[in-house]
Subunit: 736 residues, 2 copies
Amino acid sequence: MPGAGRAAGVRRLHPQPSEEPPAQEEDQDLLLAAAYVSDAQYNRNVPFETSPRAIRLYYFYNHWTMQVAIYFFICVDLSLALFEEPALFPLPFLATSIAEVLCLTAFFGRLVHFAKVTPQMVFWKDTKNICIMVTIVIRRTFRSIRNTLPDILYVFLLFVFSVLIFSLMALKLFGDRGLQTVEGLPYFTNILDIAFELYVLVTTANSPDVMMPAYNFNWWYSLYFITYIIINTYIFMSVFLAVVYNNYRKHLKNEIRKLAYLKRHKMIEAFNILKVKVGTEFVVTEARWKQLARIVMPHISGPHLELLLRISDEGQKGHVDKMNFIRLADLLNIQVVTINIKRHPLEDWMPRVYQSSASLLVQRMVRHRIFVWVYDVIILINAIFIALDEKNPFISYAEWLFLSLYIIEILLKLYTYEPRAYFGRKQFWNWFDTLIIIAALVATVANTTIQSARKYNSQQILDIVLILRILRLLRIIVSIQRFRLIVTTLINIGPTILTFGGLVLVVYYVFAIIGMEAFHGKVQFFDPNFTTPNALVCGNPGLKDSAFARDRYCKNNFNDLASSFIVLMELTVVNQWHVLAGGFALVTHQAAKLYFIGFHVVVVILIVNIFIAFILEAFFVAYSLEKSEVETAIEKKIQELGVGIQEEEMQDGKLVDNMDAKDGGFSGDDGDNKRKALKGLYFRIASKKYRTVDALLQQMFESEIAPEDEGPSLDEILNFSAGDVYPKNPNFENSA
Amino acid sequence: MPGAGRAAGVRRLHPQPSEEPPAQEEDQDLLLAAAYVSDAQYNRNVPFETSPRAIRLYYFYNHWTMQVAIYFFICVDLSLALFEEPALFPLPFLATSIAEVLCLTAFFGRLVHFAKVTPQMVFWKDTKNICIMVTIVIRRTFRSIRNTLPDILYVFLLFVFSVLIFSLMALKLFGDRGLQTVEGLPYFTNILDIAFELYVLVTTANSPDVMMPAYNFNWWYSLYFITYIIINTYIFMSVFLAVVYNNYRKHLKNEIRKLAYLKRHKMIEAFNILKVKVGTEFVVTEARWKQLARIVMPHISGPHLELLLRISDEGQKGHVDKMNFIRLADLLNIQVVTINIKRHPLEDWMPRVYQSSASLLVQRMVRHRIFVWVYDVIILINAIFIALDEKNPFISYAEWLFLSLYIIEILLKLYTYEPRAYFGRKQFWNWFDTLIIIAALVATVANTTIQSARKYNSQQILDIVLILRILRLLRIIVSIQRFRLIVTTLINIGPTILTFGGLVLVVYYVFAIIGMEAFHGKVQFFDPNFTTPNALVCGNPGLKDSAFARDRYCKNNFNDLASSFIVLMELTVVNQWHVLAGGFALVTHQAAKLYFIGFHVVVVILIVNIFIAFILEAFFVAYSLEKSEVETAIEKKIQELGVGIQEEEMQDGKLVDNMDAKDGGFSGDDGDNKRKALKGLYFRIASKKYRTVDALLQQMFESEIAPEDEGPSLDEILNFSAGDVYPKNPNFENSA
């Protein structure tokens, strides 16, 4: 591993024996190694200093409360724009200023904290180093842009060229015909207008209106538009998607490669700290290994740790070698569900009643498939009732009946299944069910109380009750295996979609601020029942006879942040965006259209395509689910150790089966169901379906690095660039 | 290779020695082997009988004229609908009937011919076998559908479920508010209307209008629509693309796997026919091998054949072994350009003049980069002149000037470069240039003649002149390397896009026929200047006050095939499709909307997504261009043999350089430029850029089959199903 030790970030990492007494040094080594391991485990990005204070600071920095706090402050800071002029909910200037200062303080504190826990702290003091840093950052950014942009830029230029050529052709073909649009305006007489109209046609927003005058004039002119649509709308837009997707994959692969090598690098650092020489090779003793695992995962159960040790120390030699040590982060990351088969609390409290034949009958009933089917039928009947008119008193009473039925269902299930298992961390649908029902119960009761007390329906509460009532119908998805599978995939994508939502939010925010600067107050919204001439033109005479006013788009304005976001959302959906652009161009200047075209290029051509690329990639990964090498090892060990220990309590075994069926996906996935008892515990590898896409991708890449490959130096890893990577696609080899 | 010999199709293939005298048998063996090789070379699909007559029939069947003829008859048959009632160009019934009968005869003849050349001819006579065949076909089709549909179907059902849930929610939230649309109609009061509107919102065609009444009423209701758009428009539509894409790749891989194994299978059959035992192994003698190659490729040049033999018979042992024999089809498929450096014809005819210093100066000038730049500037100036008003006589004279300049350019190039090289098969841009200029010259002259003779402009010719004038500007693309690269990729995709266009045409055709049945004559087109009440409602009072009539969509009707195609094209582009659907529903029945929804599902959700998947795949393949193993072998051999033979004539070498630069793409692709002289010829492997996507894919897959892998039996190959294939993606291994 040449160069790794010489990397700037880790220069001061090796403990200085002279500074600390030996005993404390022991502990500190362990802490340091543990920090490395948990870094590797969670893909954190900072090597750190070695003093106990620094390590404490580091743990504090990575604590989840700090992260939640910083996200909270970011949200507060961004939402301030809602309350500042132009405001949706005006607040005094002093209040928003204080909030702003608070947020900035929090950001600054976080930055200082970051500087404290990174070794760059020493580094910052040297101006020369800062210059080098800045240069490196600029160079890397520039290289990244240089590698990414040309592909898109040249396609974009060619596309613009094509639009211009077609504009010129349209001017020559239609300009002198004296044709008119539906509104009676001259048709295709100005090259700039033509180019705009044709750009709009690429987004399909003005099809087929833009074609109709020429088509009405002569049948053959439709061929011009068909050619245009095939070339620019279909082929070029697909090429944009292809280019964006290709770049997305390159960057994805680069990121994952970087993470995978960094992880290995950190594990090797941790190994080097703890290693002792036994015989001819360096190893970590069993005792140190256990201490380390306990620091990294304080809540790990004894049997689980024992299981991991048996995997890492295959020959039970009392120590763990380098290869097995490196796997520790992965081992800890695999969620081994230790199903601590507990008896139902009711069985403990009143065993006679719970084990009575009536009680057993109820339990058997609830576990039966017919119980599920009966409730599916109830949901369907409920759906019909919801669709009917609720003015009918009989139907509003039926609502109470359905609510009671659902509550009875949950109570019965809680009676039959162990409550802690029923509300397990991964039991998404149980949580969903219960929350929906409880919320519906609370809202319905609140609504009825208000109604009987004040004799009027609270609109907000009624809306919530209605929505909750309909959301209950989603439970039908749980019953259909294939639906559950698709939804589970979508839920797995969830976290990354949220990250993606952050990107969209930032871009929206920037465009919203620009839009408010440019168009604030130009368009006013009046109550839709107002029909004064002023209200009909959105308070701006410039909009007279415009499509904007005719379609009553007055509320689509940039007068406050919320409205701006809605307008930008409508622009993202694309349809009618030319009407919006045209309207704002009328009240300001024709150049305003550039703002809308810019938004379209950035959001629709770039960001929406990245989003589609992301969903495609996520689904392809989901289609190629397979077990990792580490997981297989754990499963094998669980099976191995399980031999000879007989299964406990058939009844609870059933419960486990039932849970399996609940979160089960691929029914052929027998491996998941293999669980054996170890010291009274059941182990089971958490189903792969609940893994995020990133984790799956990383696993795939790791399976391709040879176990003995220690990767390039830290410097090289941090400088990986997507330009070096060319994803081969399609590739017909198996990645196993 | 167990089972291959027993496959039904090849049961009678082995020649029966008793039937023929030995000498003729020799020839026949060779013919049979040659047929196998050319089958493998062009991915043809039929094993065949062994009599000389059958082989002759087979060659005739695969002759290109027969294929062109059959495509011609298909086109004629399909276009008959243009001339039959409802007709765009009415023809007498007798004429169309005769054409129909002619086409059907041609199809039948082709079918009989096919039956003749396939071994199934014998097969057909046995009724039992036919039953088995039919069963197999049904089983395979069913299996294929069963494998493909569930993925899409369940996603689609979930999507429909989601739309219905949202419809129910909308009914409850907005149904009782008494809101009105812009047209003053009740808003969201009927569950079926809501479901239709929300389906339209998925296609984005009625955004943001469908939201405005609720949004105007209360800001918060926009959240409902944003949620709907994110879930149904963005996520579900991307999931559809992902599922379609995934299935596309599975089928693609299956097809390619089948073709690759079939090819190998055929080559092995050919080898088995010609093999003789030399020492311990079976081989094909050099003489037979050469005879075979000459039959398969009658026009192959001697040196080229010599080159291939040296590659196949590495050790010059006088025979070709099995492994090398199997490569023959690939070797023949690689286009080795034998650049037969010829002198310019003018140099032969009048060497003194052509080699005079003035002539040499002209040639050097034309070859200089500045010559290209000067013409780029001329094109740009021409573009400006085109954009200006051509009424000005000065500008219309300038047009003649530009035309002369372009003609002079072509003449100069023909003077400098060897004309046959200039108009080489792969010199796409030279052909483009010349054809555009000649056509423009002809059209301009024709226009001027008509104008001066009859004092009026022929509209059609003028339009053509204008378009040709503008198309000349495309030449600027040639000058920019990056543009040329993208365009070349697109041109490579061309042939497959045409196949794809065939699929679209068939689907359009079916929908057009249904549409004409249902909506023929319901909507009439009147001259746009007509403003009688009847013309304003497209001749149908049912359209009064409808958006269809207001937008003047009267010409969008199903009154003849051409109009129907235009309407379907507009529906494919999606925008305003709900207006069209609404209009036709008004003049017939609300159920007519089902026709439009069905079209949207089939064409936009399935076919357009397949198209996008295809473009994505094609671009990914283009991004991972690499040399095949066979190509590398040829190149190595060319280089090896080239050593020791010095390069000829520097001047002609320049020509080759120039041609390289013309069709060059990746400038770093040095391998392509390696060419050496062999017996006075230059060899060069034709640039990979001109390979079709299918060929590249097949190559990739073949590189993954081990050379000694003879594949499964013929039966198994023909029964490959996409369900057995799971493309792994993303996959970070190299496919090299």
